[in-house]
């Protein structure tokens, strides 16, 4: 199937050459595609508008680096995928942690070998499914999204988390001492 208008190579070249009207046509044409994409990914949330705008900015800023004017779709697709990754990365920042945000990252980067060994031991108690859920959560996915990714329900995912917590309580007691030591 051919590219939807107005993404023909001539329009891309004109936009790269500084034709503001051509550039606006490209961005306006991309907007509904991006809207459909992001709604599919995160639902109809206010964040969709930000995601669209950030992606359009990526395209706008990088347009002149696009060597092949026929590859706008590939270019926009990667911009949208990168934007989704940034969304996940920014979701659960330090503000979410119960206690001080700095302790764990800084200390674990220092190479706390004992803590690492103990964390492995704690994590090894988990089933692969539970570990996958905890990692996806840490990566930035919401439980509803995780449920869809692993063909489960949100309630079942949350129950797995609760079970994991119950299972790891004792081992975690040793872990924190090492982390803070």
């Amino acid at each position: 199937m051919s590219d939807p208008a107005p993404f023909d190579a001539d329009t891309v070249l004109a936009a790269q050459a500084g034709d503001a009207a051509a550039r606006d046509r490209l961005l306006a044409g991309l907007e509904p595609i991006l809207r459909g994409f992001f709604i599919n990914r995160v639902g109809k949330r206010p964040a969709v508008d930000d995601l669209i705008q950030n992606t359009l900015l990526r395209v706008h800023r990088g347009l002149n680096d696009l060597k092949n004017p026929d590859r706008l779709k590939a270019f926009a697709m990667k911009a949208a995928l990168f934007e989704v990754q940034d969304l996940y990365r920014g979701r659960y920042g330090p503000k979410e942690t119960l206690f001080d945000p700095d302790i764990l990252p800084e200390r674990s980067m220092d190479g706390e070998a004992g803590a690492a060994v103990d964390a492995e031991r704690a994590l090894s108690l988990l089933t692969t499914k539970a570990r996958r859920i905890l990692e996806l959560r840490a990566y930035g996915y919401r439980y509803r999204e995780i449920a869809e990714m692993i063909d489960s329900t949100e309630a079942a995912v949350k129950m797995q988390v609760k079970r994991a917590f119950d299972k790891m309580k004792e081992v975690l007691a040793a872990l924190l001492v090492l982390l803070l030591g």
Binding site: M1, P4, A5, A20, L27, E31, P32, L34, R35, G36, I39, N40, R41, D49, I52, Q53, L56, L57, H60, A74, A76, M77, K78, A80, L81, Q85, D86, R89, G90, G93, K95, L98, F99, D100, D102, I103, L104, P105, S108, M109, L123, T128, R131, L134, E135, L136, A138, Y139, E145, M149, I150, K158, M159, V161, M168, L172, A173, L176, L179, L180
Partner: protein
């Protein structure tokens, strides 16, 4: 599934009522409080390990595309980068089952984008498609019809383009220039401003900031007076411009004291770049630099951030021995804080809000240490 503990473990966000219910539960079960603190510690460790395994998430995107039917979207350079990272990423996938699911999700996302693109191509010119219901990931495997909200499309493109045009000083060419927002704090008081990207600014004692809140927020703020910024990490740097200098950060917390004559920056966490008079210095956590108007920034020097940032009203500890923590708490609250001898050398880090009570702080510290908090004769105690 409705008990406070399960909500604390599994809710994306806790409501005020949820927090209160959890607080009441933890008050009756101190052991549970410790267990939750340890759980939070483990979550942080998992996050750190994922970051260590895949420090650049873009490479994971390139890898996901390169191992799917969407590989042709990669340029030659991107294919080379994906190939170079392949062994390392595949080792990470073996160690982290979650990452494997992330790669699959990225590949599905590429399919969704492709479907949206093709739906746009199939649409008749001038067609006004209906708004679609939110779709799920499970539903994105087959091609989806593209959603359309054309009445707003120009507005978003306008905002997006405007942000760039602002940077290019072409304001007059764009009529939808977002308005400036100004926030000020009354002398002697504080005001907190939340930016659209999740970052915040605490304005202290007649401080003032100016920024453009419009979409997208360009993460650029002009500041005068004493302002403490907590910056949400994003790809786009967050910039604070003052009369004397510019601070550029990706995600961190720092205090700025800016007058017409000079700007001082004290960094609480992370890393920032301070530029003035064409020269730049990089500050790491616990460092301070000062730039007078027209002069380059001073060499970073280590400072006691709890002292230097006392004007924020926040309470800072950075790798601080518990013995020192107890002394500071006693000085601040005028009550005795006793730490068991076996814990006095333990080091902790933390930032507490100015309205946090001594009891809350001591309980949090005790939980972090895996210790117990108690009150005896008005003195707060932390013991193993």
């Amino acid at each position: 599934m409705n008990d406070p503990l399960t909500k604390a473990l599994a809710a994306d966000q806790l409501t005020a009522e949820d927090r209160q219910a959890l607080r009441e539960l933890l008050d009756t079960e101190p052991g549970l409080r410790q267990a939750l603190a340890r759980w939070a510690a483990l979550q942080g460790l998992i996050r750190q390990r994922l970051h260590t395994a895949i420090p650049d998430q873009r490479l994971l995107v390139l890898y996901a595309l390169s191992t799917s039917a969407h590989a042709p979207v990669l340029s030659a350079e991107e294919q080379a980068a994906a190939a170079a990272a392949r062994a390392e990423i595949e080792e990470a996938l073996q160690q982290h089952p979650g990452l494997e699911a992330v790669v699959e999700d990225m590949q599905r996302a590429a399919g969704t984008f492709e479907a949206e693109w093709q739906a746009a191509a199939a649409r008749a010119p001038g067609e006004d498609p209906a708004t679609r219901k939110p779709a799920s990931r499970a539903a994105d495997r087959p091609a989806q019809p593209a959603v359309r909200q054309r009445r707003t499309s120009w507005q978003y493109v306008g905002w997006a383009t405007a942000a760039v045009l602002v940077a290019a000083s072409l304001l007059l060419l764009w009529p939808r220039e977002p308005a400036l927002s100004v926030a000020e704090s009354i002398p002697g008081e504080t005001t907190t401003v939340a930016f659209p990207d999740g970052s915040t600014a605490l304005l202290v004692d007649a401080a003032r900031i100016t920024y453009r809140p419009g979409a997208p927020f360009d993460r650029t703020v002009d500041a005068q007076g004493a302002v403490y910024f907590t910056v949400t990490p994003r790809e786009t740097p967050f910039r604070v411009a003052t009369a004397a200098a510019e601070v550029r950060v990706l995600g961190t917390a720092f205090g700025v004291e800016a007058s017409e004559e000079a700007t001082e920056v004290v960094l609480a966490t992370g890393q920032v770049a301070l530029t003035a008079a064409g020269q730049e210095v990089t500050l790491t956590a616990g460092e301070r630099s000062r730039a007078a108007v027209g002069a380059p920034p001073s060499a970073p020097e280590r400072v006691d951030i709890s002292e230097r940032l006392a004007w924020t009203g926040l309470l800072f500890f950075r790798e601080t021995p518990m013995a020192v923590v107890a002394e500071r708490l006693e000085a601040r609250f005028g009550r005795a804080v006793q730490v068991a001898p076996s814990l006095t050398d333990e080091r902790v880090s933390g930032t507490f809000a100015k309205d946090a009570s001594l009891e809350e702080i001591v309980e949090a510290l005790a939980a972090t240490l895996g210790a117990t908090a108690a009150t005896e004769d008005q003195a707060l105690q932390i013991k193993p």
